[in-house]
């Protein structure tokens, strides 16, 4: 303490300070780091322009927004746009119901499929075979939804491959494409076809990291293969499963937007409208900007809250979760 005060005293000011260099001024630091700042500039501008600036645009949720007037001139109408959420508007309720049903299907039916695939592929003996199978199965992930939907139509449509085969063998054909009753089944099978292989990669990587000696120890203790899976494999997968589940929860109100928009014409609004398509149809196509923005805003906020809550719960259960705050 004494030494420090001594250094600062006028008598020693003439000699340069040895221990502490004064923090350079902001301007000096900006000049020093100018290259780094210039490198960051284009990316930060884009991020602010298309991630943060649009956030401000959400004010139209509280406006009777008219595109030709813009956000400055349009009249404020308080929470009028949000009224649709509670008044039981049939179009909104329909979108909400379809969304929740699809979310339920996706978490119950789609989520476990890649885990099962990963377990099966992981137990293949030959490394070559394993890689071969996987490179076939995750290819569809890189195809666009337009292509996936087109492929499904060409396979299952009225004149598609399957019905063609059935017809030429004198069997009755079936009608999935454009059939409103089976639309959710179709959506689910498309998601499974497109993304199962991709989702399995992560699980396979985690499985490969499970310590072999745990299996050996379990076998020595007399555990059957099924018991080994139950007591070694699944606990090993638990952190990644929880992590993905939390992330999916945040997206749980956004189900297959592109996928549905592409096929909406064929099956009609009743069977296919979800919240995202509702926002699109109502706002951009229908001109109800304020209402659409209000629904979109509530949706994003719920998504964010779900992720944060789930993450908290995961922490309190002693799991890693997505992040530590």
């Amino acid at each position: 303490m004494m030494a420090v005060t001594d250094m600062k005293s006028p008598s020693t000011a003439a000699s340069p300070p040895l221990a502490r260099r004064p923090r350079p001024s902001l301007l000096r630091r900006i000049l020093r780091d100018r290259t780094v700042l210039l490198l960051a500039l284009p990316g930060m501008l884009l991020l602010i322009g298309f991630q943060y600036f649009p956030l401000l645009g959400n004010v139209i949720a509280f406006q009777d927004f008219q595109p030709f007037l813009g956000t400055d001139e349009s009249l404020w109408n308080g929470l009028d746009n949000f009224r649709i959420l509670v008044t039981g508007d049939p179009a909104f309720l329909n979108a909400l119901r379809n969304t929740l049903i699809l979310t339920l299907i996706q978490s119950v039916m789609i989520f476990p499929v890649p885990i099962v695939l990963a377990l099966m592929v992981n137990s293949l003996m030959s490394e070559k075979l394993r890689q071969g199978v996987m490179s076939v199965l995750y290819l569809p992930h890189f195809l666009s939804w337009v292509i996936v939907v087109a492929v499904f139509q060409q396979m299952l449509g009225g004149s598609g491959m399957v019905n063609n085969l059935l017809r030429s063998n004198g069997l009755p054909t079936f009608d999935v494409i454009g059939n409103a009753d089976l639309f959710k089944v179709l959506l689910t099978s498309q998601v499974i076809w497109k993304d199962t292989g991709w989702a399995a990669i992560l699980f396979i990587a985690v499985l490969a990291g499970i310590d072999r000696s745990l299996y050996e120890a379990a076998a020595v203790d007399g555990a059957s293969r099924f018991q080994q899976t139950l007591n070694v494999t699944l606990p090993g997968l638990r952190p990644i499963v929880i992590l993905l589940f939390i992330l999916q929860l945040g997206n749980s109100l956004s189900v297959g937007f592109e996928q549905i928009i592409l096929q909406q014409q064929a099956v009609g609004i009743d069977a296919s409208e979800v919240l995202d398509t509702y926002v699109f149809n109502e706002g951009i196509a229908g001109g109800q900007w304020g209402t659409a923005a209000a629904v979109g805003l509530v949706k994003s906020v719920i998504g964010l809250v779900l992720v944060l809550t789930a993450n908290k719960i995961a922490h309190s259960m002693g799991e890693e979760g997505v992040y530590r705050a």
Binding site: L55, G57, V151, S159
Partner: protein, 320 residues
């Protein structure tokens, strides 16, 4: 339990056989090693079916696109084994017309977009990897936070319109040019570069820019290649931004054409097809040909993507 404590040197499996009857040991080893024949067969069948579900549609699509017109018409619009190779459909869509133009648009968007995205991402990631510089923490937090929410469809659309990008090709590039996730992945690569190399360069008088250009980028080439491929695939596949921002059908990328003429089944007349058609091939053949053209670029880059996955480039990056 007791066997392992008595023989700490040997492996658990070995110690088991040493202490127990041979029959016991055999049973245990069987449990440890291999699946039963029933399980094995089921597994093989399921995996073969899964692979077939992916491969067979592609074969059918390619086969129909190259089948002669009369065979396609006679077989009800779908051919698995073409009698001979007939490329009329490809010639008719590639000799001018809607598809050719859309193909050029898609190639242009993908090429320009990928280069731009990659440059901007690498630059931002480098800046964020230089800890202790001005505003480093706040910028990093801005990038991270952007991963947690999306601004919403309507506000994004209005922002793009406000920037005057509607009906401009740039609307297909700029709004999606930087992905916060990719920035974080590349940054974690830059952070993992050994400080000694960078310091040595500095001592030798290299400027920040030179360190980035001559050391940072060359050492992270593999990671940047993967990220570039991802950006490229995204630009090529972009459909929704075109649906939102491009009203002028003359500026449509391939995915929009695909939606209109294949998914929605709009007829392609002589005005949409190229000029060099003798007799227009059946719609099915044309549809399949468009589909093939839009899939082929993905198939071309696919092996490169895969090579990097097997090296674990991406999984490692995601972890860090």
């Amino acid at each position: 339990m007791s066997t392992t404590t008595e023989n700490p040197q040997t492996t658990p499996g070995g110690s088991a056989s040493a202490r127990t009857t041979p029959a016991d040991a055999h049973r245990r080893r069987a449990k440890l090693n291999a699946a039963g024949p029933v399980e094995k067969t089921t597994k093989t069948i399921v995996l073969v079916i899964a692979c077939a579900l992916v491969i067979v549609p592609f074969i059918g699509i390619v086969a129909t696109s190259i089948a002669p017109a009369d065979q396609v018409t006679n077989s009800g619009g779908f051919v698995l084994f073409p009698r001979e190779v007939d490329l009329t459909a490809y010639r008719s869509i590639l000799s001018g017309g809607v598809v050719s133009r859309a193909l050029l648009v898609s190639i242009g968007i993908t090429a320009v977009g990928t280069i731009l995205s990659l440059m901007i991402t690498a630059m931002l990631a480098w800046a964020l990897s230089r800890r202790g510089t001005v505003a480093n923490r706040p910028m990093l937090l801005l990038v991270l936070f952007s991963l947690l929410f999306s601004p919403g469809l309507i506000p994004t659309y209005l922002a793009v319109r406000q920037f005057g990008l509607i009906d401009s090709y740039w609307s297909l590039i700029i709004p999606t040019a930087v992905s916060g996730f990719n920035v974080i992945v590349v940054r974690s690569f830059f952070v993992s570069l050994p400080d000694e190399i960078l310091d040595a360069a500095k001592v030798d008088g290299a400027s920040e820019w030179q360190v980035f250009r001559r050391i940072g980028i060359p050492l992270s080439r593999a990671a940047l290649a993967v990220i570039g491929l991802f950006y490229g695939v995204n630009y090529w596949n972009a459909f929704f931004s075109a649906l939102l921002y491009i009203n002028d059908a003359a500026k449509w990328p391939l995915q929009m054409v695909l939606r209109t003429y294949v998914v929605n089944g709009a007829q392609m007349g002589t005005s949409e097809l190229g000029t060099a058609v003798e007799a227009a091939p059946p719609q099915e053949t044309i549809q399949m040909a468009i589909l093939v053209i839009s899939i082929v670029p993905i198939l071309i880059v696919y092996p490169f993507l895969q090579r990097h996955f097997s090296k674990g480039v991406l999984t490692g990056a995601v972890k860090g």
